[in-house]
Amino acid sequence: MISMPRFVALVEVWLKEGLVDAEGKSVKEALNDMGYSVINVRVGKVYRIEIEAESKERAEYLIDEICRRLLANPVKDRYKFSVHEA
């Protein structure tokens, strides 16, 4: 049996600009309290996904689908990702 190539995807998911990022706001306030002149903080999520696929193109297609179906709600989130061979 020939095993399928493996790929690793790094997916970033961010709340869209204009939506309140409560965690980012708290982090900013804490950093200001600590004396740092921090102007803005946004907190996003990073997923490292290992996946089997016939090709890199196929892996990219699947990761994009995964983003749309689970990791991001396109109404409020934006996402980007990179895929490389494991």
């Binding site: 939506l19 990022d21 409560a22 706001k25 990791l71 109404v75 409020k76």
Partner: protein
Amino acid sequence: MIRVLVLRAPGTNCDKETARALREAGAEVDIIHTNKIINRDVDLFKYHGLVFPGGFSYGDRVRAGAIWAAKLKAKMWKELVDFAEEERPILGICNGFQVLVELGLLPGLSYDVTPSVALAPNISAHFEARWVYLRHESSGKCVFTRGIRKGEILRMPVAHSEGRFVVYKEDILRRLIENDQVVFRYAKPNGNIANGEYPYNPNGSMYDIAGICNEKGNVLGLMPHPERAVYEWQLPEKRSNNIGYADGWYIFKSMVEYIEEEIL
């Protein structure tokens, strides 16, 4: 006998109050874990109505409601759509509303793979736990509010971090209004619409939307908790043993009456 299923998931925490409200309204209620339904240990269709209660399903991982919805969509999608198409009532409260939106059962304009609306983080960046005023806006489509006059003001508590109703395109909001799918809007104590003013609109929801139904009116989702406003003694000013009902009661009563009249 009217049978209603209150579906549970890890992190659900309003199932018992919800079941009690439905029993008070005359239904026989089972609280059942999602896995039992997914594994077909329990048949969804033995129930006339379905409720997704509030809480923090799957610890709000990925985002509120996302995991619960993904699981159901992968394993139960056809059954859920059939359940809704048969016009059996489906109610989603708070986290349950988030799940219905993530599933696409709400607003139900199309059963697309990606949602067309979302419940985004509150503008205040706070967890909002307070009593709010709601204006009932349905002109009769929503089966859960048949016992409530249009324009009536109701009080219920909210308790959420992600309740800001947003739409993908302006066009979707217009369609919701035209289709009589806007059921509850946040209001001021005098009955005027909150018009985005905090804390009357607790989360910054577009068009002050607190709850919407699908095109047929048999699927309702709302951020406020009607199950926490069933009895008068649950109201903030009532400390006595008053035995009357509070505003949330009418949602459960209407649901049970609808089943009795049109589903049984």
